[in-house]
């Protein structure tokens, strides 16, 4: 390298400078290695999680058959003849996730359209930090609101205890609202201006332009937001735990106490010892949650690829 040839000169200052430059190149190489190692470490973490949780969860099948775990509705882990049917948890998880998305999407999408296309500047400057704040509020605080406000309210309204999927879905809808809103808003903003201009120039009203041109064009972006929201709803634990009632059965109605995968883990983990079938079953549920979330990420990649092709 060029800086090494300077070493032949005898002036001490030049030699000192050459040594300094050489050292800098050494640091450069070492830092590059360090950065690559940290990137590898991040990759190792996700593999370790899948491996460890998967391995521990798979131990369940030593005591419980595959069909019993996924299709039986009998969850009775502490009796003398224990049964480990996780179907009610799976069922409620799917139902809760879909219901919360159905509740959140109309409001989130309207909010996104409002912020991207209709709201004046000052209004946007209130709404954006407000949405950020929604994200920042810890999930237990949402749970507390659900427990102290929503559950009594629904109980009085429908004459039941008030626990169940409905209050959980309402709380989750509020929690995933900002996710769907901000991603849809970004998608709407990133559309090329010519779409809107052409539509307006053809004499369409603003509403017609939004409904017939902008919304269809931004569909992949909206889908990404909705899928991310679903991911958050599937994995949410504490807020749901406080309002869903926690009975291990298939709910008779939306206001009947039930349990989802996440809350089943939290509820039982404290009662079990490491290595027992019961404990392993909880790890298997965590594995199911993990695979569901990873599946959603794959789905987002598929949607994004389709957007690139379009």
């Amino acid at each position: 390298m060029a800086y090494q040839s300077l070493n032949t000169q005898t002036e001490p200052q030049t030699r000192e400078a050459a040594r300094w430059t050489g050292r800098q190149h050494g640091y450069d190489r070492w830092m590059r290695r360090l950065f690559a190692i940290s990137a590898t470490a991040v990759t190792a973490v996700i593999f370790a999680i899948v491996l460890f949780v998967g391995w521990q969860g798979a131990q369940t099948f030593k005591d419980v058959s595959f069909t019993d775990f996924f299709f039986s509705t009998e969850w009775n882990p502490s009796s003398d003849n224990p049964s480990f049917g996780a179907f009610p948890f799976l069922y409620s998880t799917v139902l809760l996730t879909l219901l919360s998305v159905v509740l959140a999407v109309p409001l989130a999408l309207s909010g996104a359209i409002f912020m991207a296309k209709i709201a004046p500047r000052w209004m946007r400057e209130i709404l954006r930090p407000a949405a950020d704040l929604f994200v920042g509020i810890p999930s237990v605080v949402y749970g507390l609101i659900g427990l102290t406000v929503l559950v009594p309210f629904l109980g009085k309204l429908f004459g039941s205890q008030g626990y169940g999927i409905l209050p959980a879905a309402i709380i989750l809808a509020v929690m995933i609202l900002p996710t769907i809103l901000s991603i849809s808003e970004d998608a709407l903003r990133s559309l090329p201006g010519r779409l809107e201009e052409a539509s307006l120039a053809l004499g369409a009203t603003r509403w017609q332009t939004i409904w017939r041109v902008l919304l269809p064009a931004t569909m992949p972006g909206i889908m990404t937001g909705v899928i991310l929201g679903m991911g958050r709803a599937i994995g949410e634990t504490m807020a749901v735990f406080m309002v869903i009632g926690n009975s291990p059965k298939i709910p008779g109605s939306l206001l009947d106490s039930t349990t989802v995968l996440t809350t089943a883990i939290v509820k039982d983990m404290g009662n079990t010892f490491y290595g027992t079938p019961w404990n392993n079953a909880l790890y298997l549920m965590a594995l199911v949650l993990l695979l569901l979330s990873l599946g959603l990420i794959l789905l987002i990649r598929v949607v994004a690829k389709r957007r690139e092709q379009a």
Binding site: Y27, R32, A48, I49, V53, P138, V140, V174, I210, L290
Partner: protein, 285 residues
């Protein structure tokens, strides 16, 4: 024509209503939480010891644990998170390995926090023998922080104009010199904002900590021993809200919720505003 115009008017009114509704929901949330909780906040609540069966328990150790665990988790995750972010933004070429790192970061950010919790309970609590402790909680929490830190760092570094980087290299700097003296200083405000986001999320985390940090606290306050049990404020709120036996559990839950929201709000203001000032200073005027 009038029909279309009418529909357009109606739509405008509708979207305004929806926008206002979203703000109204948030405002109601804040008023309800702060209005219920603030009256119960007092010095003795903030510093006092929790009480299991009698009224008048405080959250002193929980408050301490919250920040201690946050600090430790950032200590573990910042170097690795920022390092990987820099790697992706500066060094990574378009190859299989880079793609793998990107997919991993995405996958990691989708992992539900309860799954992190079980992983931590398996690896740190059981296999490495940390028991339920502040250390186990912080180590698990640092895994949750990682993907967000990577993304925030990469975005922050990429937001620096390419001309800075090119000018630095053209002056003969090595890449590491350019990263240290040019890229990091000029992306610092964005970086700080990003770390605030991570911290805010970590402060309110519960599902991950129940079976790693545990649900009780050390007898000493403050106890810097990382092997002590480390119930945090958010965990205490959950416990008071759902299963505590104390007669004033409701008030404790309300006050803890208000305190938690105040901390998150304060964190945002405290760090977001200086971040903006630094940005102004760095951009010259």
């Amino acid at each position: 024509m009038t029909k279309n115009k009418l529909a357009d008017r109606a739509a405008t009114v509708f979207f305004w209503a929806m926008g206002l509704l979203i703000i109204a929901i948030l405002a109601w949330f804040l008023i309800r939480i702060l209005g219920r909780g603030l009256p119960h906040l007092s010095w003795s609540f903030l510093t006092g010891r929790p009480s299991e069966v009698r009224a008048g328990g405080g959250v002193g150790p929980q408050l301490f644990n919250t920040f201690y665990i946050l600090f430790l988790s950032l200590l573990f995750s910042l170097p690795i998170g920022i390092g990987s972010g820099i790697y992706l933004a500066v060094y990574a070429r378009k190859n299989r390995f880079t793609e793998l790192v990107r997919v991993s970061v995405e996958a990691l950010s989708s992992v539900p926090s309860i799954v992190f919790g079980l992983f931590g309970a398996l690896l740190f609590v059981n296999w490495l023998g940390f028991k339920f402790s502040i250390l186990a909680g912080a180590a698990t929490l640092s895994l949750l922080n990682l993907p967000v830190l990577v993304r925030v760092t990469e975005d922050a570094i990429r937001s620096v104009p390419a001309s800075y980087w090119e000018a630095s290299l053209a002056l003969g700097s090595t890449r590491w010199q350019a990263v240290r003296k040019v890229l990091i200083p000029s992306s610092l405000p964005t970086l700080i904002t990003g770390v605030t986001l991570v911290a805010g999320r970590a402060l309110g985390e519960t599902a991950l900590l129940i079976y790693t940090a545990g649900l009780s606290v050390s007898r000493k306050v403050p106890d810097f021993d990382p092997m002590a049990m480390g119930e945090t404020l958010a965990l205490h709120l959950w416990y008071s809200g759902s299963s505590s036996l104390a007669p004033d559990a409701k008030e404790i839950a309300d006050a803890s919720a208000a305190l938690l929201v105040l901390i998150v709000l304060g964190l945002n203001l405290l760090i977001a505003i200086p971040g903006r000032i630094i940005q102004k200073k760095l951009s010259g005027r």
